[in-house]
């Protein structure tokens, strides 16, 4: 095999020899000096490490919960409620007998200094609280009965207090034990077909606080499949969804600045002009001056411009960050840094808008040649129109 050539040793299963050879070769292929050589060396090193027969390793580790016990436990599950409760009582009485051995670790003498001594005393104090050798099998049997019992009735399962035994359980601090318990509970919860979906989700929500399922979503997905996780935990980041519908926005834009297209901007302006026209109509109705002389097109245009200059900057500087038309089309106005405009900045922007609209032909020509989707008034007033 070529990996042995790279490492310059004979094929071996001795982990230590492989590591030593790797360390030796690494001195000539340092990762920052010879990245390619290093990549090859590392790949071969991993290959060499994995090539050894794995019997030793497997039998040594993973001694926490043997699979056979779990299988027999599952078979035992079909029992009457009476017997479960009886057994629970029995197990709980057992739990009162101490199965704890205190740790007596001799600490090395090299640490000096008052503060550190103090710390070490503290450590000993805290370490007394945990056991060195918990009986995991018994512990698991006990825990499983409790879990099954709580999951049996929907009232107890959706009550947060009935799960409090999880927090008190000493063994659940162990990483592997907790991971196992977590996937067991998850599996049980999925298979609870009798419960309606919203109840299952409510229970999952309670348990998520303890097992932190949303954080390890990807692990659960590989174990149970994407669909099932989605079914139980719902969509990711529900809080983000709420934000979209919220009226008040943050002062800064979050996420990438995506420029809005010309057509979208045009559509938003048309909506605004429409709104102003309607507003004018009702204004005229209210004042009762439905006189044709004052409602001629020229007057209306001038009034429209005035309304525009008065209200639009207010809208743009508000937390809406744009006129109603822009809000409806899901775009907003910010400065180059993604920050909300100030009222002066917004007024300046709209003055620029009116000026550039007056030179409409010129604006059009400039924008035909530059394709960065920025209009002339945005260019002058140093602001941008982006997607919300």
């Amino acid at each position: 095999m070529s990996c042995w050539n790279t490492l310059c040793i004979e094929p071996t299963t001795d982990k230590y020899a492989i590591k030593k050879a790797y360390a030796c070769q690494l001195k000539t292929h340092k990762p920052d000096e010879d990245p390619e050589g290093f990549a090859i060396l590392h790949a071969h090193y991993k290959q060499a490490l994995n090539s050894k027969p794995q019997t030793l390793e497997v039998s040594e580790s993973r001694k926490v919960i043997p699979a056979s016990i779990i299988e027999t436990l599952r078979a035992e599950k079909i029992k009457t409620e009476q017997s479960i409760i009886e057994q629970l009582k029995l197990e709980l009485s057992k739990a009162q007998q101490p199965i704890i051995q205190y740790i007596n670790e001799t600490l090395s003498e090299e640490h000096a200094g008052n503060e550190q001594k103090n710390e070490l005393n503290l450590e000993l104090e805290t370490s007394k609280a945990f056991s060195c050798e918990l009986n995991f099998e018994a512990e698991w049997r006990r825990l499983k009965i409790k879990i099954d019992h709580v999951l049996d009735t929907s009232q107890s399962a959706s009550n947060i207090n009935s799960w409090s035994f999880l927090e008190d359980n000493e063994a659940l601090f162990d990483i592997e034990f907790k991971a196992y318990a977590s996937s067991y509970v998850f599996e049980q919860l999925i298979s609870l077909n009798s419960l309606p979906l919203h109840k299952q989700r409510a229970i999952a929500k309670i348990l998520s606080m303890f097992f932190r399922w949303p954080d390890r979503r990807d692990l659960l997905e590989t174990q149970f499949g994407y669909k099932k996780v989605l079914q139980l935990l719902g969509n990711d980041k529900p809080e983000d969804k709420q934000k979209v519908s919220k009226w008040v926005n943050d002062k800064y834009h979050r996420g990438p600045l995506v420029f809005s297209s010309y057509s979208r901007k045009l559509a938003s302006i048309s909506i605004d002009i429409g709104l102003i026209a309607i507003a004018q109509y009702y204004l005229a109705l209210i004042i009762g001056v439905f006189d044709f002389e004052y409602f001629l097109l020229e007057y209306a245009l001038i009034r429209g411009f005035l309304i525009y200059l008065l209200f639009v900057p207010l809208f743009e500087a508000s937390s809406l960050q744009g006129t109603l038309g822009k809000y409806l089309l899901n775009i907003k106005i910010t400065n180059f840094q993604g920050r909300r405009l100030s009222i002066f900045h917004a007024s300046w922007r709209n003055l620029c808008f009116l000026l550039s609209t007056a030179g409409f032909k010129l604006t059009l020509w400039i924008n035909i040649f530059s394709k960065d989707e920025k209009l002339l008034h945005d260019r002058f007033s140093r602001s941008i129109v982006i997607k919300r």
């Binding site: 230590y16 590591k19 030593k20 790797y22 360390a23 030796c24 690494l26 001195k27 340092k30 990762p31 920052d32 990245p35 290093f38 990549a39 590392h42 580790s61 993973r62 740790i103 670790e105 600490l107 090395s108 090299e110 640490h111 550190q116 103090n118 710390e119 503290l122 450590e123 000993l124 805290t126 370490s127 609280a129 945990f130 927090e167 000493e170 601090f173 162990d174 990483i175 592997e176 907790k178 991971a179 606080m209 303890f210 932190r212 954080d215 390890r216 979503r217 990807d218 692990l219 997905e221 994407y226 990711d236 980041k237 800064y252 834009h253 990438p256 600045l257 840094q337 993604g338 920050r339």
Partner: protein
């Protein structure tokens, strides 16, 4: 050329270098090893850094800022200091500059190169921002090193026996990192790394503050900035005290509080439970990725100030069934490790046979079309290119093809994260590629991701039929700086006035007195005011000898007053 190592922390920073076979820490102008990462502007518009600024948090809250590392790389996040606005990058560069000056006066030579540490779980944008901060401070950043890796180097080099696996748990002021490291015959290999960028001592402090406010029914919004900082400071001291005592009593620090407030360790632990659960997740993930069981780990090492908390230690002891080791000062160990890396970069002969390999802590990939998604609810799928915990430097190519007939443009969106859907991952940047017209699936492009030792990503795209190539070094818009902008940044910073170094000691004393003045009442307050006035008069006299003696006396008085301070 001398290269210095800098540990740029959320609450404290430190500076170090490699000297004669061992890492050495550089004391700052006040002869302390830790410099608080706090920046302030004083009444004359001069910039204050460190201890002096820290004391001014209470007396001048609107002119001082702390914990800005939390917003590193955030788009458009600006802090208002007096009249000017600063970004996190600028504030960090001010701290770095101050550390650099300390190093220069200590070593007596000009320093232009540095190695800076970052949390392992910092993403690309945050790393770029840190690098930029270094450059603005006039330091060429030779390497960004992960904080747990730096700590592992210190522990690894102390270890004599061959072949040891360490689990490094690094909880500082604002971030929590986990790294699994193996050390054998001079090779320090990081196997897996994970973390939480928003979990640190500050979060535990916030819980305590919230509890205090709830107990006295104070609305957080109604607090003035000065009151808030006063409460935070008192409770921070209380939090530290809880490490040694079972319960702590805080004196009256707010007008709504009518009697001393007592908090005991158990209550604090109950309140902090949600945070403790969050600690478990990254640890579990690391062990899972490295495919190792807790019993295979030789030593669990605690790094960072927040790991001093008894509840943290007891949790770790329970999780691993052993006492974690933290016999090197957890505040300084990262700085020492950074010095080793600086020594490596200098190609020091004492470090000749040390090699360090690191991993990329998160998955990097591109967006691909989700064909099952008919309703448009899920959005694009995430295709991993560099898997998390693959060894770096790493360079991986994947092919992509067109999805419709006669497609002329292909958009490559670069994402980072673990979720199956891109919308739940972090967007890093994008790149448009022009391709010739062809039927669906005919045209292919190669996307190459190169991840270097600093944790920075580069993307190369080549179109197979035309041999056109495109390249992108990932920048978010905030990090995207042209030469011109960089010089603009630099001139902005060079225009800032810094407080003269030699007066810094007196500045700190004044700031301390001002803080005491704010937090006391009645006769004591007027006394402090009087002493402060006297001291300022002496300072104006410019009589060096007299200043020296009065400052000594002044310090003694302040020490005494502070002793009587917070706790009963």
């Amino acid at each position: 050329m001398r290269i210095i190592g800098i540990d740029l922390g959320t609450t404290n920073s430190a500076c170090s270098f490699w000297s004669d076979g061992k890492p050495e820490l550089i004391p700052n102008r006040l002869h302390k090893l830790l410099t608080p990462s706090i920046v302030g502007v004083d009444d004359n518009g001069e910039i204050l850094v460190g201890e002096a600024a820290k004391h001014r948090l209470v007396s001048h809250p609107s002119h001082t800022t702390s914990a800005f590392k939390r917003y590193m790389g955030a788009t458009g996040y600006q802090t208002q200091l007096g009249k000017r606005e600063f970004s996190s990058v600028e504030l960090s560069s001010i701290v770095l500059r101050s550390l650099k000056e300390d190093a220069e006066s200590y070593l007596g030579e000009r320093i232009t190169q540095a190695v800076i540490s970052v949390p392992a779980y910092f993403n690309d944008t945050q790393r770029k921002a840190t690098k930029l901060a270094g450059e603005l401070a006039g330091l060429k950043v030779e390497r960004l090193i992960n904080e747990p890796t730096a700590a592992a180097m210190v522990y690894g080099l102390h270890h004599v026996s061959n072949g040891a696996q360490f689990l490094i748990l690094d909880m500082g002021g604002g971030t929590f990192d986990v790294s699994l490291v193996e050390y054998f015959s001079g090779v320090l290999e990081v196997h897996a790394s994970s973390g939480d960028n928003f979990l640190g001592g500050e979060d535990f402090l916030n819980i305590l503050v919230q509890k205090y406010l709830d107990d006295h029914s104070i609305a957080k919004k109604k607090l003035s900035a000065a009151e808030r900082h006063q409460i935070i400071e008192a409770l921070n001291k209380a939090k530290h005290q809880l490490t040694f005592d079972k319960s702590v009593t805080v004196k009256i620090i707010h007008k709504k509080q009518d009697k001393p407030w007592t908090i005991d360790r158990n209550t604090f632990e109950q309140l902090a439970k949600p945070l403790l659960y969050r600690i478990q997740t990254p640890i579990e993930r690391t062990l899972n990725d490295a495919d190792i069981s807790p019993s295979d780990i030789d030593e669990v090492v605690l790094v960072g100030g927040a790991t001093r908390m008894p509840m943290f230690r007891s949790l770790i002891s329970k999780m691993f069934r052993r006492v974690p080791s933290g016999n090197i000062n957890p505040d300084l160990v990262v700085a020492m490790g950074v010095a080793i890396q600086a020594g490596l970069k200098e190609k020091n002969s004492d470090l000749d046979d040390i090699v360090l390999t690191d991993v990329c802590p998160y998955t990097l990939g591109v967006e691909v079309i989700n064909q099952e998604d008919n309703k448009g609810k899920q959005g694009g799928l995430f295709m991993p290119i560099i898997e998390r915990n693959s060894i770096i430097p790493s360079s991986i190519v994947k092919s992509l093809c067109t999805s419709s007939d006669n497609q002329t443009k292909l958009n490559i969106s670069i994402y980072q994260g673990e979720s199956r859907l891109v919308k739940n991952n972090i967007f890093l940047g994008e790149l448009d590629v022009n391709i010739p017209k062809a039927p669906e699936g005919k045209e292919t492009i190669d996307v190459r991701y190169s991840y270097d030792m600093n944790g920075l990503l580069e993307v190369d795209v080549s179109v197979n039929s035309t041999n056109q190539t495109y390249q992108k070094t990932i920048f978010n818009h905030s990090g995207l700086l042209s030469e011109k902008e960089l010089t603009a940044y630099k001139t902005k910073l060079s225009r800032l006035k810094f407080h003269p170094r030699e007066n810094e000691v007196y500045r700190v004393l004044i700031a301390r007195a001002e803080k005491l003045y704010e937090s006391t009442l009645g006769r004591k307050r007027t006394d402090i005011g009087n002493i402060l006035n006297q001291f300022e008069q002496v300072l104006e006299s410019q009589d060096l000898k007299r200043i020296h003696t009065t400052s000594k006396q002044f310090e003694c008085i302040l020490d005494e007053l502070e002793q009587q301070g917070m706790f009963t």
